[in-house]
Amino acid sequence: MRNKILVAVALLSGLYLIRNLYYILLVLPDEAAQGAIYRILYFHLPGWITSFTAYFCAAVASIWYLVKRDQRADEFAVAFTEVGVIFTMLGLATGMVWARIIWGVWWVWDPRLTWAFVCWLTYMGYLMLRGTIDEPGQRARIASVVSLFAFVSVVITYKSIDWWRTQHPGAVLSFRTGEQRIDPAMENMLFHNMVALVAFAGVLMMLRLGQERMQRELDALRRQAHSL
């Protein structure tokens, strides 16, 4: 049953992404100054929102673990974090391609980009740290604390477009600015792609969660095999 739901959501989110791609490439109006490259925004921004959502869920799962000592919470935390890291990479990669054309360089060390990079490094560190601790309880406890510290970088990265006025463009979505800064059709498509990417991220997360459970079963079987 779980697998059937997973396949259904994967198919629906895939179809939704293809439908969005059609609108992004063939229906939406052009941006006056940037040419076709502005269309990267439809993946860049939703990619970041998806990764922030995943990190937020990971932080909630980490608090849940620290309060309840429930191993399942740790499984959720690692699954959300890994998917978040992938979408952070998506945000960074698409941003770099856009910057190459608009700024003439792939990367600049301005506070907004630097914090995005720090955010990615911090969560990569979280994933690497987990691989270095064998005892599951200790691993979950330390990882939960690190996850909460890492979430500070998410908050700073999210707020960096308000706090620092640098080379990176400021906020464009109306719920952040309180006014309509981009064409409503363009903003609408950003929300559509956000929903599609979050749904797809949910599928990836459930797949990763299944593996974490399988890994726990494998550890238990190994202990059983050693005791025989």
Partner: protein
């Protein structure tokens, strides 16, 4: 569609889709490897228990 910078837009889209596709393939590969390991261990434990 305005075709200025179309090539780089294509690179950006390709990077995004490739990243997701590679991760999905990695996840599927990892799952089948784990499943195989679990099945092997279960079989081994069953055999040991029969012998014991």
């Amino acid at each position: 569609m305005d075709e200025r910078n179309f090539q780089y837009m294509f690179y950006g889209f390709a990077a995004a889709w490739c990243l997701l596709a590679v991760y999905l393939v990695t996840l599927v590969g990892r799952e089948s490897k784990l499943r195989k390991e679990v099945d092997n261990l279960k079989r081994m434990i069953e055999e040991r228990e029969k012998k014991g």
